[in-house]
């Protein structure tokens, strides 16, 4: 008896819900369905994204150190740490290193993304030209992008090693031995090599995205321009570039986010050295937390990074048509 009652109650609820849906407009129905489909993801989102972010924000207002990290989150954590207001933020803003690493992070993003875009675009144009013997290149172009970062760092380390590195050997062969150096250990060259590594890795992604964009440009636009006597530059300037505007912006904003957030390339290759000349915000957070045992201040820097990233993310969402 009670089993039947439960069944009836279940079906009556379904009926109520379906009559509720029937009274809605199509747009409202779509919205409700969307939210229902999101429902299973929300707990995961809260646990994996929101909770750690909130803990980071709370940590940034405390004097948490390595001992606090061992107890995890709970009453004990709040017994161990003291809330110190905005001290961590003030310490950061009055520390010259903070401004140095922030500037370097923006420099890395600006230079790397610009080079990646220009070189990626050139590569995309070459691919689009369909040059003879260039077909195989399309198949291997993504290799740098799929190689694990650790392997890429090993390759670059090997190529630039002081004695047996291929770069130095090449320089010696062509009579430029005075230019040989320990590239990753050099104040002048360590940061440029980090930029080169970013470019080498990400350029294929730009090339393929832009190549896809080029392929979708209607051919009749070029034909019409030719009839009007447009030069190659004019066609590029007034047809190709405007048509690539959307994929370009998406790929640029995405790489701004990825490069700004990147930790592993620098950590594995130079560890932020020499003398901090390759230290960026992402590696500085790690250094503060694990080497200087200043978890609270590291969290404050992480929060600042998060705010900057949110601005970039907002731009990206705006571009792809989402609500900001």
């Amino acid at each position: 008896m009670s089993g039947n009652k439960k069944k009836d109650s279940f079906f009556s609820r379904i009926n109520i819900f379906s009559s509720f849906l029937q009274k809605r407009t199509l747009t409202e129905k779509k919205k409700i369905t969307g939210w229902l489909m999101l429902l299973p993801v929300i707990p995961a989102f809260l646990i994996v994204i929101i909770f750690p972010a909130l803990m980071g924000i709370i940590n940034s207002f405390t004097d948490a150190d390595i001992v606090a990290m061992t107890v995890g989150i709970g009453a004990e954590f709040f017994d161990i740490v003291d809330f110190i207001g905005f001290s961590n933020y003030m310490d950061l803003f009055t520390d010259g290193d903070f401004w140095e690493v922030t500037l370097r992070s923006f420099a890395l993003v600006g230079i790397a993304v610009m080079l990646q875009y220009v070189l990626g675009l050139i590569l995309a144009l070459l691919l689009d030209e369909g040059l003879k013997g260039f077909g195989w290149f399309k198949n291997v172009i993504m290799l740098p992008w799929v190689v694990p970062v650790a392997s890429m760092v090993v390759i670059f380390n090997w190529m630039t090693a002081p004695n047996y590195g291929v770069v130095n050997m090449l320089l010696e062969t062509i009579g430029l031995e005075h230019l040989t150096t320990n590239w990753f250990g050099s104040l002048a060259f360590a940061f440029p090599i980090i930029i080169i590594m970013h470019v080498w890795r990400n350029m294929p992604f730009y090339a393929l995205t832009l190549y896809a964009g080029l392929s979708s440009i209607p051919q009749n636009q070029y034909e019409a321009a030719e009839v009007d006597g447009a030069t190659a530059w004019q066609k590029f300037r007034h047809i190709t570039l405007p048509n690539l505007k959307y994929p370009s912006m998406v790929v640029i904003v995405l790489h701004v986010l990825w490069t700004f957030n990147n930790f592993d390339i620098i950590y594995l290759s130079t560890g932020g050295g020499p003398v901090g000349t390759t230290e960026v915000m992402a590696t500085e957070v790690y250094d503060m937390a694990w080497n200087l045992n200043l978890m609270g201040r590291a969290a404050a820097l992480g929060v600042i990074m998060m705010l900057i990233m949110m601005i970039f993310s907002g731009m990206y969402l705006k571009l792809v048509g989402g609500d900001v």
Partner: protein, 434 residues
């Protein structure tokens, strides 16, 4: 075979399996994070096999992350879950773990330990904090000056005794010996070896240590002048050409492999480089051509060097402390230590695992151990100077290490003079609340 016999055999097998499974279930599963079990070196397979064949305990075959830095990070985050039960580390890490309440004092077990007489007092003291023992000595080493005997003979050079001679000899070799540099300092950012090399030379000026760990907070023992002297040695080495400026930022692999690859005439390292011997003939030849002596001594100092005592620790939150102690005893047992240290060329902490007869017998029994070990000259070369080893103070070394590496880099990259860098280093170390 008749059906009846077959069924009986199957039944017996089933009962045996059930019995084994029941026994297994009664023994709690323990977790061991052992660096040598997961990093790639010539003896890894042999020591893992030996351990797994001989352990009386139920130990998970996942031996943790590779690399002491990863071990530290993961243990700090998850140590309170009780996982792993036993782990290997550096003494500097042990001090950090103890401060965070993550490692178990071994005093209650140590009192009744039947093998406690096998450990020299000096090694035990290196792993004591406030008079309590927190790690079982696993291996130990003192940093010695290794030099290429044939190069010194060929160029009629004396092994340097003082810092001035050291710089002069290194510069001479860099200048006059083809494809060879006099010396190398490890100088990569975030590399613990950098600090250990710095202390090797610092202890000659102050063998009391860098910090007085008896006081709370720990008091800085170094003077600005002493720090400046050590940094001046770095400066002199690079400016005089004893160390190639292209080697700035070199990591420990460059130091070790560079020496066994014949790139450097001198290095200050521990006995572990013997482990590279089996890699190729060149490494083997270089090590056969190696002389071992104490690092050159400051003109106004006394012979001293960095001593590292590797601890095997127990998680303070382990759910099975009794069994974990048994596991600790297994991985520091004579037989296990004899094998792992003979294979790697490291110095065992136990005296009975360093006995020459036992080493010779092991070499006879196994064909995967280099017979050259029987000559004993390698370990004897390090043991001869064991008494000048100074263990680091019992404090958390994360920040001091960072400041020391910063100071060295400031000097070798000519961003600061040794005096300026020492002034800043002194101020940073003195302000620490350790």
């Amino acid at each position: 075979m008749s059906t009846k016999k077959l069924l009986t055999s199957m039944l017996v097998l089933l009962i045996a399996l059930t019995f084994t499974a029941t026994l297994q279930a009664e023994s709690p599963e323990l977790n061991l994070w052992q660096h040598e079990f997961v990093i790639d070196w010539q003896g890894r397979e042999a020591v893992v096999d030996f351990f797994e064949e001989n352990t009386q305990l139920n130990v998970d075959e996942d031996y943790g992350p590779a690399g002491f830095d990863s071990i530290e990070e993961q243990f700090i985050i998850q140590g309170r879950t009780g996982y792993p039960d036993v782990l290997e580390g550096t003494p500097e890490q042990m001090f950090t773990y103890q401060e965070a309440g993550l490692v178990h004092s071994l005093d209650e077990f140590w009192q009744d330990y039947e093998d406690k007489d096998q450990y020299p007092e000096s090694l035990l003291e290196a792993l004591e904090i406030d008079g309590e023992l927190y790690g079982l000595p696993y291996s130990h080493n003192v940093r010695m000056l290794l030099y290429r005997e044939s190069v010194f003979e060929e160029h009629d050079l004396d092994v340097p005794e003082t810092w001035d001679e050291f710089v002069e000899t290194a510069a001479y070799i860099s200048e006059n010996v083809e494809d060879m540099q006099g010396f190398i300092f490890t100088s990569e950012a975030d590399e613990v070896r950098v600090m250990q090399e710095f202390l090797t030379f610092y202890y000659q000026l102050n063998n009391e240590g860098l910090f007085d760990d008896e006081s709370d907070p720990a008091r800085l023992l170094a003077s600005e002048e002493e720090l400046a002297e050590v940094l001046k040695l770095y400066d002199d080495m690079y400016t005089e050409g004893g160390v190639d400026i292209d080697e700035r930022g070199s990591d420990w692999m460059r130091t070790d492999y560079g020496y066994t690859g014949g790139d450097f005439a001198m290095v200050t390292v521990g006995p572990w480089v013997w482990g590279h011997r089996a890699e190729d003939d060149e490494a083997s030849d270089v090590l056969d051509d190696t002389g071992i002596t104490h690092p050159p001594v400051h003109e106004e100092g006394e012979a001293a060097t960095f001593m590292e005592v590797a601890p095997m620790m127990m998680n303070a939150h382990s759910e099975h402390p009794e069994e974990s102690w048994e596991l600790l005893k297994e991985v520091t047992s004579k037989d296990f230590q004899l094998l792992i240290n003979t294979l790697s060329g490291a110095q065992a902490a136990r005296e009975d695992a360093m006995e020459q007869d036992a080493i010779n017998q092991l070499i006879e029994e196994r064909d995967d151990i280099d017979e050259e070990m029987a000559g004993d000259w390698w370990l004897a070369g390090f043991s001869e100077y064991a008494d000048i080893g100074v263990a680091p103070s019992a404090v958390s070394w994360d920040r001091p290490e960072d400041y020391i590496i910063d100071a060295i880099q400031e000097v070798i990259y000519e961003q600061q003079t040794p005096t300026e860098a020492a002034e800043e280093l002194y101020r940073n170390l003195d302000n620490l609340d350790l």
